[in-house]
Symmetry: C3
Subunit: 288 residues, 3 copies
């Protein structure tokens, strides 16, 4: 009975890890990403004044992870733009979210039940990207474990890691913070995921890659869906991190969590994915 | 009779599109580019305090388009610096414009009739760069139409697209604007040119490349000469753009033009190539 | 007798130029580099709040020269991170300097006699990097003399040339200055060294490379040890530079030196390696 279960799990995870991402999952990824762009203060105004800048930002939100990973591996940063269908699909999503009459498309995809499904689908793509990034780096540098972690990390975090420069494109400059100084949950999870996939690639983690993909996807999707549904931005890692940082780096206990909350009043729009839904909608509406 | 005319036009455009750019046209390009650098407020002071920074800025003004295109295609950003004669010629122009006794060289090339000729020659180089950029990208990515447009665009716009970072090199930081948010006429024309040349490369535009080069060069040279002579910065695209943006992106009618003018008082030195000649000269003189 | 001396010198310099840098010299390089990172105001606070950002900055301090040189030559910027033992050693040094109980490691290596030895060893590595950078660029571009100088220069200067962006990672933004506008002694010396090694590679300097390496190392080590011991930041080039800049670029006589000092009161923490030891220690202590 248990063997059967294991066999099934193995088969399921294998099938799951071979599933194509285009177009359904990628579409969800583009929608959620450009939704977060529209939540950014000032982005609607930019879309009116300079459609080119707005389109470019949307492309960074959708393909930032590919751009960064290509840069890290010394390839052309626009390499991914050869996939015309992906770019066209993302451009269509950008157009619908920013310019659809009556804001209809935006209202549909920002409707919570729809959004929860899209968020879950986005995390499927994120996990696959991390795994592919680590694998790609492993192919180029067989023993470059640090490179594998770095490439997997940038593949998972995407535009967040270059948010300072993405904001600069929209005429916004907030040098006092960045995604490395104040990591949001998806960025942290991408780092931990990249480490796990690197350990797996180095045969230090006795688990099949497809199983790891399935497990990590389930963890990410559940976490993000729960966080989105509860408008929360607490991290499931907070407690462990707080203790590990205290022991290793002498950070004050509970500091990680406090640090996360403390700077909020001063610049309340810092992290991209962590604003409460209500505040976001009010801001977006006002901007229109 | 008409066949003869067509034959002649074909021959003329073919000869024109094969004409070498070095040294005459390139020289004009370097002179006009470094002239615009000298118009930038503070650049004369930088040339006194730190010749290395000033030289580097001058190189970015002259070779920014090559640097950006090489970065976009994943090549070495300093690849073009292997052409020692080009670098030496540009360095000579930089030296003469910034350090010539009695400011003699500057006075000669900034003399309006001379400058108009140089500006026209510069546009010849710009068009050729766009065509070469699109062709180069087409060679690397046969169906990468977006990549062709991007590479042609950066080849035509050059330093303008990285003006924030070029200014940073001189200790100036203006994050509230950039060339994508507020496109100047040459940047816009480069974008439209890159799209045209991409369509031609994709066989969607039923016209020979040499004819397109000739036509686009004539348009660019005429526009820029008229704009320079009249100290104007109105764009010939303004009316069409205004309507297209209104229909497609819901921008307020006439907004494109107003947006262009409105921010001027607050930061009057924003766009590199759009200051009135008089104001420029006064500023440059004061700075010396 | 003289022939013998020449032979010995040749042998010594040959042996010296073939000497391995790892681990002793590299260790000294990492220690001194991360020491300078700890002197930076706010870096200790960052190490408590965000160990990842602090580690990344430390890596930039240790491997910035490799990253920049790889970028310049179109390679992967993280190429050097395949050397796991180097990264682990540098990470260990980072951990000991920032988190060692009682600050013991920091106190040992910042103790002046120890530090003077480490500083001398660091200059050995710097010279070797410049020579290797020029050689590497010569291999890729046989007649690209400008590229050789640029690559040698970035190999010698390392993180200093990207200090604006390294500071941004720690949430600090000082756009009004950068290492090109206000070159510190090591950056200037790296430029001159890169020019010398390029001339040697182009057979315009009638001296063996090993002799040049030995001579330049001795000059750099002596200069830096004396400057560190005397807490001085005067440059041995000041007098010559002042005259050359006056003649070539019309800079006011003695201006180079004054320029260097003048902006100090306004932003007293501008250059990384030029603070007086006392001020640094006070600041570092306060920050802890």
């Amino acid at each position: 009975m248990e063997v059967l279960a294991a066999l099934n799990l193995g088969e399921i995870s294998h099938t799951f890890s071979k599933m194509g991402m285009f177009p359904v999952f990628d579409l969800a990824y583009y929608i959620v990403s450009i939704l977060y762009l529209k939540y950014e203060p000032g982005s609607v105004e930019v879309s009116r004044r300079s459609p080119v800048a707005s389109w470019l930002c949307a492309m960074l939100y959708c393909f930032g992870s590919y751009i960064l990973a290509d840069v890290m591996l010394g390839h052309s940063p626009v390499d991914y733009f050869q996939h015309n269908s992906h770019i066209l699909l993302a451009s269509l999503v950008w157009y619908l979210i920013f310019y659809c009459p009556l804001n209809l498309f935006y209202k549909c995809v920002a409707f919570l039940p729809v959004k929860l499904v899209l968020v879950a689908l986005k995390e499927v793509v994120r996990t696959r990207k991390i795994a592919a990034g680590v694998h790609h780096a492993h192919h180029a540098y067989h023993h470059g474990f640090f490179i594998m972690v770095i490439v997997g990390y940038v593949k998972g975090s995407g535009v967040a890691l270059m948010s300072n420069f993405e904001q600069l494109l929209r005429g916004v400059w907030r040098p006092e913070t960045n995604e490395i100084l104040n990591m949001s949950f998806p960025t942290k999870a991408s780092l931990y995921g990249a480490i796990l996939f690197t350990l797996q690639e180095a045969h230090l983690l006795p688990v099949a890659k497809s199983t790891l993909i399935l497990g990590f996807t389930l963890f990410m999707a559940t976490s993000k869906v729960v966080m989105t549904a509860r408008h929360s931005h607490g991290s499931p890692f907070a407690l462990i991190e707080s203790w590990v940082c205290h022991l290793l780096f002498g950070s004050p206990l509970g500091g990680a969590e406090e640090d996360h909350h403390a700077p909020a009043p001063a610049s309340p729009l810092k992290t991209k994915e962590e604003l409460s839904e209500g505040a976001r909608k009010r801001k977006t509406k006002k901007a229109e």
